[in-house]
C-alpha cells in the first residue's frame, strides 16, 4: 500500500512537560515522526506546550504551536489548520488521551480529521481494563485473576476472594500513577482510594500479585497489511511488581530459552493483531519462572519509554516506522536507514547486551519513600552497551552520575537505617546492597538465598558475583596485562581498578592519580577500547550507522572521522535540575557544527533523548559521561600523530562542564569558554575578585569548609543566609537558614555528603529575581532577553514562573542588568553562552540601579536557552557554536544593539514549572532554593494576562474561576502580604477554611472562614475536605526550615495537608507570589490567542 494520498497534512500532538513517567522519549519519538512524515511530503502541524523540546524548534515541523495541550486549544488549532489527519500515538499518554477526548467531543468528525495509525477502538480496547481482559480471554491468553472496580469497598471484597497481596492498577493513568502493591487491608484501602482518584474515569483493576514472576516486554510493530515484527524483547532484572520504568532492564532477554522467547513473541503478535494496532505497541508479560505459564500484564498501543529504549538498544527507529505506517506505508515499503539496502520488515539481531538503569530523584527528596512498586518514580534513565553483561551493567551504573565512586558499597544516605530483614526490598539502593552482600557473604548457597529473598534470577546474581570475584582478584593478585584486560572486559573503570589495587590508590588527596596510573599502564600494555557498531543485524550486512559503543575486543570498527571534527558532550540522564533543555542544546550544537562543515561527534548515556538518535550527529558514541570514557573516544578519534579533537563542554549542563577541567588537563582542546574562565566563575574567591574589580555588588558572603568558619561568616553577614555546596546544579542541597543551630546541622551534613568542596554562604536578600542568558564572543555581547521571575528570590529559578519580557523593571534597572552581564561576560572571557541571575531589592531611595545584586553566574548554556530562543527568535545555540568556531557576533549580524540587548519582542511569554510530586511519595513539595520541578511549559500570547493564563492552564494549575473553596494556612510573617490575595479570592466568591490563626485574621477582615483544627490534635476534617474535593485550592506558606518531622508538629500538619492536596490533584501553592499570579489570572477573564509561535513574534 503506497502512501495515503488523501492525507496531505498531519497534526502531531506532543506529550507536554516532562513529568515522571513521561520524559524526553516523546521528544525523540515526536521529532523522528515529524521528520518521517515530512520525508513523505506531508505538511506537519505540531502542538506541544513544552518549549524545552527539539520538536518545537523551528524547522522540525512545518507549523509549530507552543500552546497548552487542552481540548479547547486543540480545537482552535484544528479549526485554523484543517489537518487531514491526526497522529496521536507519539505523544505518550497525554497525546493518546487527547485524541480520545477530541473524538468524544465530536471535534474530529466536525472537521473531518482522520485518526491515523492505531484506531480509536484499539486504544480503548487496550486501555480499558475490562475490554482488554475480554480480548485476552477470547485469544485464550491468560490474565491474572483480576477485577475492575470503581469503589474501595468493591476492591476490598474482591481482595478477600483472591487473597492479599494484590496489585492496584488505575485505568488511563501515566506511569502507574496512584497504583501499587497492597499487602494489607489498610494498604489496599489507601492505594485503591488514590488509584480511583488518579484515574480520569475513576476505575482501578485489582489483580493478583504474582510474586517472583519474571517480567518480559516485547516491542511489536504492525502495518495496515497485517505484517508484524518484534523489534526487541527485554527482560527485567527485577521480578514483577516494580514498574518497568523503575526496573533495571536488559535487552535482549537473557534467561529465556528459544521456546519461551518464541512463545511470548507469538503471543505478542496475536495480541497486536487482535487489537488491530497500526504502528508500535508494547506488550508486557509476567512469566512463571517454573513453568510455561504466562500472563499479559499490560499493553501500550503507542510508542513509549520502552520503545525509545528498544530503538536505542537495537538501532531500529520505531517512531519513524510507526509514523510511516500511519500514513499508509507497509513495513516492506519502508527502507531500513541503517543498511540502506534492506527494509523495515525485519527483526534486529543484537550482538551485545544492553542494560538500562533508572535515575531516581531521591537525592532531592531525602525523606521521600524510596520503595519501588507499580508506580513509577524515576525521572530518567541511563543505558549502556557492551559485549558482556557485567560491563554493560557497570557502565550503566557509572552513567548514573550519582556519586564519584558509583560502584562502591551503598552508603545509607542521611543516616537512614535499614530495618533488619528488609535490606532487599526493592528500592533505588538495592543493586548496591546486593553487591555489598555478595562482597561480605561468601557462604555457599548465598546466591540462592538472595534469589529466594528477592526473586531476582540466579543468572543475574551470578553476574554480580563475577564482578565481586574480579574485585577480589584485583585486590589480591599482582596486576598482569591479562587481569587488567579481564577487568576492562567486565567494565571496570580505571578509577575503580585503581581503588582496588593497593599499590596504586595511595594518594587520597588526589583521587585522580590512581586512575591516571591505570590509564598509563593500559597504554603501555596496549589495552585500549575498541568501538563496535550498533547495526541492527549483528554484522550480517554492511551498515552505515554512525552509532558506536566501546568494548575491549580485537577489532575496532570506528576509524577516526576524516577532516575537521569536534565532540559535543551530552548531559546524561534526565534528573531534576538537568533535564531535556540540555539535550536541546547538545543537539542544536551538533547540528550547527555539521552545518559549518565540522563533523560532530556526540557522546551521551541517555536512551530517551533526541541526542542519542544516530541521525543527529555525524557520529554517536553511547558511553558514560566520565573523563575516562570521553578521553578514550577522543584518542580513538585522533588521527595518527594528530592531537586530540576539540570538545564542546558548555551545552551538556553541569555534567559536561564538570568534565572540562579533567579533559583539558589531559590535553584536550576546549571549544568556547576556557577552563580558566569556568574556574573564574565557579571559584567563589576568584569570582569575588572579578566582581570587586567590576564594581558589581553581590549579597555578602563567603566560602567555608567547616562549621566554625560558617558560623563566623553568618554572624558577620547576618541571618537569614542562603547556603549551598559549590559545583552543583539545580540548587542541590541549597537552603535558606535562619538560625545558628540549623546552620550547624546543615554544614555537618553537607560536608559528609559532598566532601571537600567549599560551602557557599550568602546573605539572603529578598526581592525580585531576574535571569539573563548572554552570548559573548570576547568582544561583543548579545543579551537575547531578560526574564523576570514571578516568585521572589529564595525559590529556585527552575521552580519559578518566569516572564519575558520583564514586567516591572525600570529603564535604569534594565540598563544596569545589561551592563553587569556584559561586563561579566567579557571579564570572565566567555566564548559562547553564559547565564546570570540577579536579585533586585526594593529601590528604597538608593541611586537608580544600585539595588541590583548579582546572585550567580554559570559559564555555560542554561535551562532557559530553548525557552528564550523560541520566544526571542535568536538562535542562541547556533550563535554560540559559531562563536566557538571563530565567527564573531558582528560577522553573524548580531552585534551593535544598545547595551547588547536584543529588542524585546511584541509578545509576552510565561514559563511555568511542572512538578511530579504525586509520584514522589512523602516528598516535600513546598518551594525553596532547591529545585523540585521536573519540567516546564510555556504560555505565550500578546498580553501578560493571556500568557499567564495559558502557562497555568498548561501546567495544570486550574482552580474554579468563581465560588470556589480554598484552604489557607499562612505563616505569621506572610499574613499582611497575603490579605490582598485572599481578599481578591473572596471577591470572586470563594469560601475559606483556615487554621485557627489565619481564620481569625480573615474574620477580622470581614472574610468568612471556617476554622479547622490541627491534624496533630486529632482533627482530620481538612484531610477529608481535600479528599472529597470540597477544597479546590490550598495556599500554604511554610515557616521555613527543613524536614517535616524534625521541625515539629506544626510543619508536620502542613506537610500532610500539602501531600494530601498533591495526591488528590488539587493545586497547592506555597509561594504567595504564585498565589498572586493565580488570582490575577482568575480576575482576568479575557480570552487568549492560539497561533503558531513565530506569529506572536511577528506581532500578529
Amino acid at each position: 500500500m503506497p502512501v495515503r494520498k488523501d492525507i496531505e497534512s498531519v497534526l502531531v500532538i506532543g506529550s507536554g512537560p516532562i513529568v515522571i513517567g513521561q520524559a524526553a522519549e516523546f521528544d525523540y519519538a515526536g521529532t523522528q515522526a515529524c521528520r518521517a512524515l515530512r520525508e513523505e511530503g506531508k505538511r506537519v502541524i505540531l502542538v506541544n506546550s513544552n518549549p524545552a523540546t527539539i520538536m518545537t524548534d523551528e524547522g522540525v515541523a512545518d507549523v509549530t504551536y507552543i500552546e497548552p495541550l487542552k481540548v479547547e486549544v486543540l480545537r482552535r488549532v484544528i479549526e485554523r489548520e484543517r489537518p487531514d489527519g491526526l497522529l496521536a500515538t507519539l505523544g505518550g499518554q497525554t497525546g493518546l488521551n487527547l485524541a480520545v477526548e477530541l473524538h468524544e467531543a465530536g471535534i474530529l468528525d466536525e472537521f473531518s480529521v482522520k485518526l491515523l495509525g492505531t484506531p480509536l477502538a484499539t486504544i480503548q480496547k487496550a486501555e480499558d481494563r475490562e475490554l482488554f481482559k475480554q480480548l485476552l480471554l477470547d485469544l485464550g491468553i491468560g490474565a491474572p485473576p483480576s477485577k475492575t472496580v470503581t469503589a474501595v469497598a468493591d476492591a476490598l471484597t474482591f481482595a478477600e476472594e483472591i487473597g492479599l497481596p494484590v496489585v492496584v492498577r488505575p485505568a488511563f493513568t501515566l506511569g502507574g500513577t496512584g497504583g501499587g502493591v497492597a499487602r494489607t487491608r489498610a494498604d489496599l484501602e489507601r492505594i485503591a482510594a488514590s488509584g480511583l482518584s488518579a484515574s480520569p474515569i475513576g476505575q482501578v483493576l485489582i489483580e493478583q500479585y504474582l510474586k517472583g514472576w519474571k517480567e518480559i516486554e516485547y516491542e511489536v510493530i504492525r502495518d495496515s497489511a497485517d505484517a508484524c515484527i518484534t523489534v526487541c524483547n527485554m527482560e527485567n532484572f527485577d521480578p514483577l511488581g516494580i514498574h518497568t520504568g523503575d526496573s533495571i532492564v536488559v535487552a535482549p532477554s537473557q534467561t529465556l530459552s528459544d521456546r519461551e522467547y518464541q512463545m511470548l513473541r507469538t503471543a505478542s503478535l496475536r495480541i497486536i493483531r487482535a487489537l488491530g494496532v497500526e504502528g508500535g505497541c508494547n506488550v508486557q508479560f509476567a512469566l512463571d519462572p517454573q513453568s510455561f505459564q504466562f500472563y499479559v500484564i499490560e499493553v501500550n498501543p503507542r510508542v513509549s519509554r520502552s520503545s525509545a529504549l528498544a530503538s536505542k538498544a537495537t538501532g531500529y527507529p520505531i517512531a519513524r516506522v510507526a509514523a510511516k505506517i500511519a500514513i499508509g506505508l507497509r513495513l516492506d515499503e519502508i527502507s531500513n536507514e541503517i543498511t540502506g539496502k534492506t527494509v523495515a520488515a525485519f527483526e534486529p539481531a543484537l550482538d551485545y547486551a544492553v542494560v538500562k538503569i533508572p535515575r531516581w530523584p531521591f537525592d532531592k527528596f531525602p525523606l521521600a519513600d524510596r520503595n519501588l512498586g507499580t508506580q513509577m518514580k524515576a525521572t530518567g534513565e541511563v543505558m549502556a552497551i557492551d559485549r558482556t553483561f557485567e560491563a554493560a551493567l557497570q557502565k550503566a551504573m557509572r552513567s548514573l552520575e550519582i556519586r564519584p565512586d558509583a560502584l562502591k558499597p551503598a552508603q545509607p544516605e542521611d543516616g537512614a537505617e535499614v530495618p533488619e530483614g528488609r535490606e532487599f526490598e526493592p528500592n533505588d539502593q538495592r543493586l548496591w546492597r546486593l553487591l555489598d552482600t555478595i562482597r561480605c557473604d561468601t557462604a555457599d548457597g548465598m546466591l540462592e538465598d538472595l534469589h529466594r529473598e528477592t526473586g531476582i534470577d540466579l543468572w543475574f546474581l551470578a553476574k554480580l558475583r563475577n564482578i565481586v570475584k574480579l574485585e577480589e582478584k584485583l585486590a589480591s593478585r599482582p596486576l598482569t596485562p591479562s587481569l587488567l584486560r579481564q577487568a576492562k572486559r567486565m567494565g571496570f573503570a580505571d578509577a575503580q581498578i585503581a581503588a582496588l589495587i593497593p599499590g596504586i590508590a595511595g594518594d587520597s588527596a588526589a583521587p585522580d592519580t590512581g586512575a591516571h596510573d591505570v590509564r598509563a599502564l593500559r597504554h603501555a600494555w596496549g589495552i585500549l577500547p575498541t568501538y563496535k557498531m550498533v547495526d541492527t543485524c549483528a554484522a550480517e550486512f554492511a551498515a552505515r550507522t554512525p552509532y558506536f559503543y566501546s568494548t575491549y575486543e580485537q577489532e575496532n570498527e570506528a576509524e577516526p572521522l576524516a577532516g575537521e571534527k569536534a565532540l559535543v558532550l551530552g548531559s546524561g540522564p534526565i534528573r531534576i535540575g538537568q533535564g531535556i533543555e540540555f539535550d536541546y542544546c547538545s543537539v542544536r550544537a551538533a547540528q550547527e557544527l555539521r552545518a559549518a562543515g565540522v563533523q560532530s561527534i556526540l557522546v551521551n548515556s541517555n536512551p530517551e533523548t533526541v541526542s542519542t538518535d544516530f541521525d543527529m550527529s555525524d557520529r554517536l558514541y553511547f558511553e558514560p559521561l566520565d573523563s575516562e570514557s570521553v578521553l578514550n573516544i577522543l584518542e580513538n578519534e585522533a588521527e595518527t600523530g594528530a592531537s586530540l579533537p576539540p570538545v564542546v563542554t558548555q551545552f551538556g549542563g553541569q555534567t559536561a562542564i564538570g568534565l572540562a577541567a579533567p579533559l583539558a588537563a589531559a590535553g584536550t582542546p576546549l571549544l568556547g569558554t576556557s577552563v580558566e574562565s569556568i574556574d573564574l566563575a565557579e571559584d567563589r574567591r576568584r569570582f569575588d575578585d572579578v566582581l570587586e574589580r567590576l564594581n558589581i555588588p553581590r549579597p555578602k558572603g563567603g566560602g567555608v569548609r567547616t562549621v566554625g568558619e560558617a558560623m563566623a561568616v553568618a554572624n558577620e553577614i547576618g541571618y537569614p543566609v542562603l547556603v549551598r555546596p559549590s559545583y552543583v546544579l539545580g540548587g542541590r542541597a541549597m537552603e535558606i537558614v535562619r538560625t545558628e543551630a540549623a546552620l550547624e546541622r546543615y554544614v555537618t551534613r553537607v560536608v559528609e555528603q559532598f566532601g571537600e568542596h567549599p560551602i557557599l554562604i550568602d546573605r539572603y536578600l529578598s526581592g525580585r529575581e531576574v535571569e539573563v542568558d548572554v552570548i559573548c564572543d570576547g568582544t561583543d555581547v548579545l543579551i537575547p532577553g531578560i526574564m523576570e521571575h514571578l516568585e521572589r528570590a529564595g525559590v529556585h529559578s527552575g521552580d519559578s514562573f518566569a516572564v519575558y519580557p520583564p514586567r516591572s523593571l525600570s529603564g535604569e534597572e534594565t540598563a544596569t542588568i545589561a551592563r553587569y552581564s556584559r561586563a561579566l561576560a567579557l571579564a570572565l572571557g566567555v566564548r559562547g553562552l553564559m547565564n546570570a541571575q540577579f536579585v533586585l531589592t526594593e529601590p528604597n531611595g538608593s541611586a537608580p540601579g544600585e539595588n541590583v545584586y548579582i546572585l550567580e553566574v554559570n559559564p555555560r548554556a542554561s535551562r532557559t536557552v530553548p525557552f528564550l530562543s523560541k520566544v526571542t527568535g535568536v538562535p542562541m545555540v547556533t550563535l554560540a557554536t559559531r562563536i566557538m568556531l571563530g565567527v564573531t557576533l558582528a560577522e553573524q549580524g548580531y552585534a551593535g544593539y544598545a547595551d547588547g540587548l536584543w529588542p524585546a519582542q511584541p509578545l509576552v511569554a510565561v514559563k511555568g514549572p511542572v512538578f511530579s510530586m504525586q509520584k514522589i511519595i512523602g516528598g516535600e513539595m513546598a518551594l525553596g532554593p532547591e529545585m523540585k520541578s521536573t519540567g516546564e511549559v510555556m504560555g505565550v500570547d500578546k498580553t501578560y494576562a493571556a500568557a499567564l493564563r495559558k502557562a497555568l492552564l498548561a501546567a495544570n494549575i486550574s482552580v474554579p474561576e468563581r465560588d470556589g473553596c480554598a484552604y489557607v494556612s499562612i505563616a505569621d510573617r506572610d499574613k499582611s502580604e497575603a490579605m490582598p490575595i485572599l481578599r481578591a479570592l473572596a471577591d470572586a466568591g470563594y469560601m475559606f477554611y483556615a487554621t485557627p490563626g489565619t481564620a481569625r485574621l480573615l474574620s477580622e477582615q470581614g472574610i468568612r472562614a471556617g476554622s479547622v483544627g490541627r491534624i496533630s490534635e486529632g482533627h482530620t476534617t481538612i484531610l477529608d475536605l481535600i479528599r472529597t474535593r470540597k477544597v479546590q485550592l490550598v495556599i500554604n506558606t511554610i515557616t521555613g526550615g527543613r524536614g517535616p518531622i524534625r521541625e515539629g508538629i506544626e510543619i508536620q500538619d502542613g506537610f500532610q495537608i500539602r501531600r494530601a492536596a498533591v495526591e488528590h490533584n488539587i493545586p497547592c501553592l506555597t509561594s504567595l507570589d504564585t498565589a498572586r499570579a493565580v488570582v490575577e489570572a482568575l480576575a482576568d477573564a479575557g480570552g487568549y490567542a492560539v497561533l503558531p509561535v513565530g506569529m506572536y513574534r511577528e506581532g500578529a
Binding site: A225, D226, A227, C228, I229, P252, S253, Q254, T255, L256, S257, D258, R259, Y261, Q262, R265, T266, L269, P289, Q290, S291, F292, R330, L331, D332, K341, T342, V343, A345, F346, E347, P348, A349, L350, D351, Y352, A353, R387, T388, F389, D457, L458, W459, A462, T480, S482, R485, Q486, R489, K532, C537, A538, A539, E540, F541, A542, E553, Q554, E555, E557
Partner: protein, 398 residues
Amino acid sequence: MEIERSETFAVLALEDGKVFYGRPFGAVDALRDGRRGEVVFATGMTGYQEICTDPSYRGQMVCLTYPLIGNYGVAKEDVESRRPWLSALLVREYCDEYSNWRAAASLDDYLAANGIPGMCDFDTRALTRHLRANGTLRGVMRAYAPGETPDIAALVAEAKQVRSVSDLDVVGDVSSAEVEEWEDLTPDPFPRREGEGGAERARVLLIDTGFKRNIARCLAERGIEVVLAPHDVDLEMVRRLRPDGVLLSNGPGDPESVAGLIALTRHLVWEARMPLMGICLGHQILGLAAGGRTSRLPFGHHGANHPVREVRTGRVTVTSQNHNFQVDTVSIPAESGLYVSHINLSDGSVEGLAHETLPVFSVQYHPEAAPGPEDNRYLFDRFAEMVARERNTVALAG
C-alpha cells in the same frame, strides 16, 4: 589477545590466513588433533541448543553472533535430532552459570558428552565481519597445551585442504538408516492436541536428509501419521509405503549431491502427482528436480530474522533460516509449472516455490522454526489440507 599461554588455548585458522585465539570448551580433547569445517555465522539470539542439534550444520563450525551463550543451559526437550552435529561451536562468552527451570545440564557438559568442541573468549564479531566480507571460509581449530607454540602456517595450509561440504556425504551421515514410524520420543514441554487417530489418518513420508524433529511434530500435531524414510529411499519403497504425501526435509550440504532423491522427487511430482512439501534442502531438491539450478550464497542465511514476502498475497513474515545454497531465481523452467512463490526481502533470493496446478510447494526457510519465529506454521496447515484434499479425490475416484 585475552588468552594467556599459561592456560590451554585454542586457535582457529582460516584458509585465507586469518587467525583467532580463544579458550576451548566442550569436548576439548577432541581439539587436540584439530577440527575441520566450513565456518559460518548464525545471528539468532536464542536457540543455541536447537542450532547445535540441527543436522543441517553437519560439517560446519558455527559462530553465534549473540555474545552470551549458555545462559539457560540445555533442556531435554530442546533437541532437534539425536545428537549435536556441528563441527565446533564458536562463541564470544560461554556462560557456565546457567539458569532456567528446564535446564538439565550446562551447554559445556552437553557438548563435551557429545564430542563437540567449542571456542570462546575471542572477537566473534570480527570473525563475522570477516566472513561477511570474504564469504564462508574453511577453517581448522586446534587446542594447545600451556606454553605450546602453534604452527600457524601449518594450520592455514591444513585449512586450505578442508573438504567442502559439497564433497562430503553429509546427508548420509545424518539421515536415518531405515524406514520407521516416527514417534516423538522427546519429552514435549507443551501439552499438545493428539492426532485424529486410527486408520483415518493421512500418512506422510518424511524423507530424512537430516530432518529437524519439529517438522515431524508439526505434521503430527495436524493429525498426520509420519513415516520416516532414509535419504536413499527408492520409488519401490515409496510405493510400498503408500503415503498420502511426501515431505522433503532440511539437511546439510550441497543439494546436487543427492542425485537419487532429485530423480525420485521428479517422479513423485510430475508422474505420481504426489502432494509434496519441501523445506530448505528439500526446497532445493524440488528446484533441481524441476530442472532449475542451485548455487552457493556468499555466506548463507543463518538466523531467525529474515523477512520473506509471499509474492501473490503480499504477506510478509519473519522466518528462521539456515542454508548455504539457494535455488537460482531465473533457473526454474516455466514448463515445470513451478513459480517463485516467496522472495527474501533483504537480498531478493528465492524463498519458495509452488506449482501452478499440482499440490506441490517448498520453502527455503524453516516453517517449523525451533529455533526462531513461529510465523510460518500456516504452511503445515496448507500442506495438511493438500494431503487431505488429494486423499479425498483419490478416494472418490477409487
